[in-house]
């Protein structure tokens, strides 16, 4: 795992811990997979957001906390939380 990838996962874990009000070490990494997303918003646009319609290679990161699975999507430039309580977020 590259330093950049580890940084992204660390950032995602920290973000999820803050949102859930739990400790970072209580957020577990489930999987990280490389994939192509349909647009520059990684298929997870936030409210009122338009995005470039270019296939965007990135990573799908699944984390687990309190028995729930949460999905983040990332590129080297950006990180997004998908469908968290019904909404997407740019982290």
């Amino acid at each position: 795992m590259s330093a950049t990838e580890q940084d992204i996962i660390t950032k995602a874990r920290r973000d999820l811990a803050q949102r859930l009000g739990v400790r970072e070490q209580d957020v577990a990494e489930v999987s990280v997979e490389e994939t192509d997303f349909p647009d520059a918003a990684l298929g997870a646009s936030v409210e009122d957001e338009m995005s470039a319609q270019v296939i965007t290679p990135g990573r799908r990161i699944r984390l687990k906390a309190d028995s729930e699975i949460y999905e983040y999507r990332a590129t080297a430039r950006q990180l997004r939380l998908v469908n968290f309580k019904g909404q997407n977020y740019r982290v």
Binding site: P38, D39, A40, E49, M50, Q53, V54
Partner: protein, 468 residues
């Protein structure tokens, strides 16, 4: 050398000449050889293309090359592509004997030497007779740009596993027009690297006669010196791209052609108006998109001949305000070409905006691959997606003066916007309604698009620029 040997050589030469002549006769009878059969059937007709004859075409060097037994046609085409040549004809009477057309202005001796050096070649020789008999061929302009051989969307001769003829017939269109510096296309995107060497000569500059941009909605109270367009994110005239997407789209529609470097745009000559409303991540807001479109309308009213907006972006969120400003652009005779989206979904059921706004000036564009198939990612829609264009493995301009390959309906969109600009180059007075109608009529119908897009076809530039 014995008399018999000379006799054998004479007979061999005579047979080759007879075979060449027979091959030429075969070509005359069928108009185009096997490799060009598809091009011929999808072109606007021999008469029309000949009327746009390119004088340079008849001056190209052609040589006869016989490839060794076992060298496949695919391998031959790979060799010719590598040497920037083209298989112009195949002499069917002699196995492996091809007429090769040089595309980079080398002499016959130089081209012959190139082929003689190859282990796959049995012999290579000049053939002036073949060169003179060029009248029967459809006319086209070939670009000398370094990466042109990768641009299957413009000229697909089967490279990299593609289907010969699965392209927009750009070379035939270029025999009619290669674009015009009088036509301005707004690239509404993440900005454009206006210093890119393959774009710099085609970037719009505000004429001094037109005042700097002023608008009540600007954050600044001062006019914006929109020397090369507008950056809505900063209210500045510096629409430099920090993502790459806008630069890529700009290159597809308007990278300078015939300059030996990089790629050729659909338009070799055009004026690209860079607009930046998306950030370095390739994302922007509806409000900023509206501000950028308002700018285009303002500049049109001020006298800039900006007739096309290329919009390679979108979302599933519908905005009445965005719809209204695009409608307003239509009232100013501005065509709005938009990406259908990459969710592999049916826009008739789940619309993708702005492409799905049902407006008279909107064209929604799906993406096809190098085999003329709808790409797996492309959205479609029998009524709400209108046309398709190349959108997979598309090489174009990028940041740091580079070139990259990308895929998406983002890439398909500037192909259509570019063809619209070619039409405007030949017919500047055409109304937006007529322009849109002409584009939607100028397609090659494809089985893969039947029931998937309204026209059932992929854009054909040659048809678009030929009077209907």
């Amino acid at each position: 050398m014995s008399r018999n040997v000379w006799l054998n050589i004479s007979i061999a030469v005579a047979l080759i000449l007879i075979a060449a002549f027979a091959g030429r006769m075969h070509k005359w009878q069928k108009n185009r050889p096997a490799r060009h059969a598809t091009e011929s059937s999808r072109s606007v007709g021999e008469g029309a293309t000949e009327s746009a004859a390119d004088e340079n075409d008849s001056q190209k060097t052609e040589i006869l090359v016989r490839f060794r037994s076992g060298v496949t046609q695919q391998a031959i085409e790979a060799i010719t592509a590598r040497l920037n040549d083209e298989v112009e004809d195949r002499i069917e009477a002699v196995d492996g004997l091809d007429v090769i057309e040089d595309e980079d202005n080398r002499s016959a001796d130089e081209v012959v030497a190139q082929y003689r050096a190859l282990s796959e070649v049995e012999y290579a020789e000049p053939n002036s007779e073949i060169k003179l008999d060029h009248e029967g061929a459809g006319k086209h302009i070939h670009a000398n740009d370094e990466l042109f051989y990768k641009q299957w969307g413009l000229f697909n001769h089967g490279q990299d596993g593609g289907k010969s003829g699965a392209d927009i017939s750009a070379m035939q269109a270029w025999a009619v027009t290669k674009g015009s510096s009088e036509v301005v296309v707004a690239v509404l995107d993440s900005g454009v690297d206006y210093t890119h060497p393959d774009l710099v000569n085609n970037i719009w500059t505000r004429p001094q006669i037109i005042k700097a941009y002023e608008d009540d909605g600007l954050r600044s109270e001062e006019p914006v010196d929109d020397v090369h367009g507008l950056n809505v994110l900063e209210d500045s005239g510096d629409a430099m791209d920090d993502n790459g997407h806008g630069t890529h789209c700009a290159g597809i529609l308007g990278a300078e052609g015939g300059n030996d470097i990089g790629i050729a745009g659909v338009n070799w000559t055009v004026k690209i108006m860079p607009l930046k409303f998306m950030d370095a991540d390739g994302a922007g807001t509806t409000k900023d998109a509206i501000a950028a479109i308002s700018y285009v309308i303002n500049r049109k009213k001020a006298g800039v001949n900006v007739r096309i907006i290329s919009a390679s972006w979108g979302s599933t969120i519908k905005s009445r305000a965005l719809e209204d400003v695009i409608r307003k652009a239509g009232a100013e005779e501005i065509l709005f070409v938009a990406a259908a989206g990459n969710a592999s979904s049916d826009n008739d059921v789940k619309p993708h905006y702005p492409a799905s706004y049902d407006l008279n000036n909107v064209i929604s564009v799906a993406a096809v691959n190098r085999n003329d198939e709808l790409t797996a990612f492309s959205n479609y829609g029998a009524t709400s997606v209108h046309i398709a264009a190349p959108g997979q493995q598309i090489v174009s301009t990028w940041l740091q003066h580079g070139f990259e390959e990308k895929q998406g309906t983002s890439m398909a969109t500037p192909f259509v916007a570019g063809v619209a600009a070619l039409v405007l180059a030949t017919n500047p007075g055409i109304s937006v309604d007529e322009l849109r109608a002409r584009l939607l009529k100028s397609v090659d119908p494809l089985p893969s698009l039947k029931g998937k897009v309204a026209t059932g076809g992929r854009i054909n530039a040659a048809k678009a620029v030929t009077p209907q």
